[in-house]
Amino acid sequence: MTSDPTGHAPAPARAAASTPDGFVPTGPRLLPGTPPRPAPRADRVERPSITATPDGPFIVRGDVEIVTPDGTPVPRDRRTVALCRCGTSTIAPWCDGSHKITGFRTER
């Protein structure tokens, strides 16, 4: 290790500012003339998804607003939520596991 009177390690050499597919890492721009950051690639944007679980709720991942019939957003405290599908939840629109008591089936 080279000693540096300021106590800082020497700055590592920086790699090229962009990868072959045009992706530019975030962070301060070090080289003059670095191309501007391109728009996020479509295949890298997380799209919301809804999983219909067998005999269970809909699992919702991603940026989806859940609203009441009058359009009021339902407060959402977690990233991934389960929406009631059987109609017996006591905390609708969320699932509370009641489908397991009522024997709800999604396929027959």
Binding site: G56, I59, R79, A82, C95, D96
Partner: protein, 351 residues
Amino acid sequence: MTTTPVPDTTVLTQHPMTLPEARGPFTAALLTALRDGAPADHLADLARAAVAAAEDLVRDEDVQLGLFVLYELHHGGIAGVDDDREWDVDLLTARAVLEEAFEAVLRERVALPERPEPTADAVAAALFALTAEDGPPRLARFIARQATLEQVRELLVQRSIYTLKEADPHSWGIPRLSGRAKAALVEIQSDEYGGGRPQRMHSAIFARTVRAAGLDDAYGAYLDDVPAVTLASTNAMVLFGLHRRLRGALVGHLAAFEMTSSIPSRFHAEGFRRLGFDDDACWYFDEHVEADAVHEQIAGRDLAGGLVEGDPTLLDDVLFGAAACLAVDGWAGQHLLDSWTDGRSSLRDRS
């Protein structure tokens, strides 16, 4: 419908627990070695003797407390004990003696369900079926309808041993898994740990319930009051968590744990409200009704199912871990019900 209470700014910062009282020859020697920073080369022999002397390892106070204390060296630590003791070879050797015997007892007593196909759907379905077989949650229904204030306080004391570090044993699984199963475990654990908001960590929300009941939320405050059968329930999780070999069992354990949580939590909330606890005190239970209805789906399909799809040789251990969870938690719950039915406290008699 209740609204989620606004989190206060209290962040639950935990400190290493204090050393408990010894419960037999093994823990007497263990606690002395830890307290004095003394060599532990005689402990493996004492562990063998403790195992040989135990009539029922699951309910043996000396064995289960010994294992619990040794495990705590890997978690929050113990006040006055050098953190280096975590990797003291003599302590690890003694721990291995207890673990081997405990695992053997679990494997002997826990009945495995029929093997499903090694697909995510079939594994999830088998786990949901297994956890449904357990029948109605009798302890939770007792809490909802009949438990006295003194009894629900006992429940909190019993639960405090695990719940004030809720989710920690399963986190050992994260670096041992990959792909779909790993992402699923992290998704569940992130929610357990508050999604980046320390006030929302389940252990911190539980601490509010503990304080509302006039109890101490310091980790391990009630360790001396809690019997072996309760410690066995936490020890089983940590046993699975600390051994890569048992990662299938750890995953099965978590799946069964999540699958038997949301409905009992609803009953618990009912009981605590019946006894006059407010929304803030019941938040912990309300949170688990909603959270675990999500977690059980992720745990069944993506975590357990994903793990078995990736490595079908782990199927039997996933089933073992799930069945072991139902068994050990069932024994611990039964102890509370039996005690209360007989008009006794479920806590240890320390007189």
